[in-house]
Amino acid sequence: MLADEQKCIALAKNDPRHFAPLYEKYHEQIFRYINQRMDDQDLAFDVTSQVFFKAIKNIHKFEFRGVPLGSWLYRIAKSELNQAFRNRKAKRAINIDETHVATFMEVFQQEESRRNRDRLFKALAEMRETDLQLIELRYFEERPYREIGEILSIKENNAKVKTFRALERLKLLFYKNKRE
């Protein structure tokens, strides 16, 4: 599987038409990653196109050093998202559903009430961007620490420690909102 990918990358470096299977493979997951963090779906499609344009343009720079192409694309997506937020084209959004709320309530050992849900939303909105990224990658998208590390350019163990700390900080914000 990975060998096929490497073959496609090698061919795409000479002829961009060979990028097609990689585009088909990653388009949906990159779109979902972007859409999760944006409030406008059409804009999410535009940013996704921009990610693949950057990827195809810079594929000659890509070298396989244990980091799969997917993680490289996520890094481009992260940078394009930040660019879109900086240009104020898009608003940073946090997409959360009932399952995620239930998970956090279980972790915080709190009952699932509307008031607690609102406190959680407030806490998420107040979080530092770096912490929020870790929470989204781990708890919303359920990615393994290895992949989180690859996306954020940190070691797997470091990703684990940082995610744990981010969760602790979220918990503190949640309880602070509870006291108010």
Binding site: F31, D39, S49, F53, K91, A93, I94, N95, D97
Partner: protein, 66 residues
């Protein structure tokens, strides 16, 4: 100032609807366009040509006056 928006239970687009928005040909076209340097574009030569003609006519009119 907090610019984040929390969206609860948003409808997730289906794989099919995402697939429908895939357009590799457009991506290739965009890539091909980016490969052309500016001096090889019609817009560049149009501007340069226009400027040369304007300069030439200006010089001719000045020469006639003097």
């Amino acid at each position: 100032m907090n610019r984040r928006k929390v969206i609860f239970n948003r409808t997730v687009p289906s794989s099919r609807s995402i697939k429908e928005r895939e357009d590799f040909d457009q991506l290739l076209e965009q890539y091909a366009q980016s490969k052309h340097p500016y001096f090889s574009r019609i817009a560049f030569w149009g501007t340069v040509g226009g400027a040369v003609v304007a300069n030439f006519s200006f010089c001719v009119s000045i020469a006639k006056l003097t």
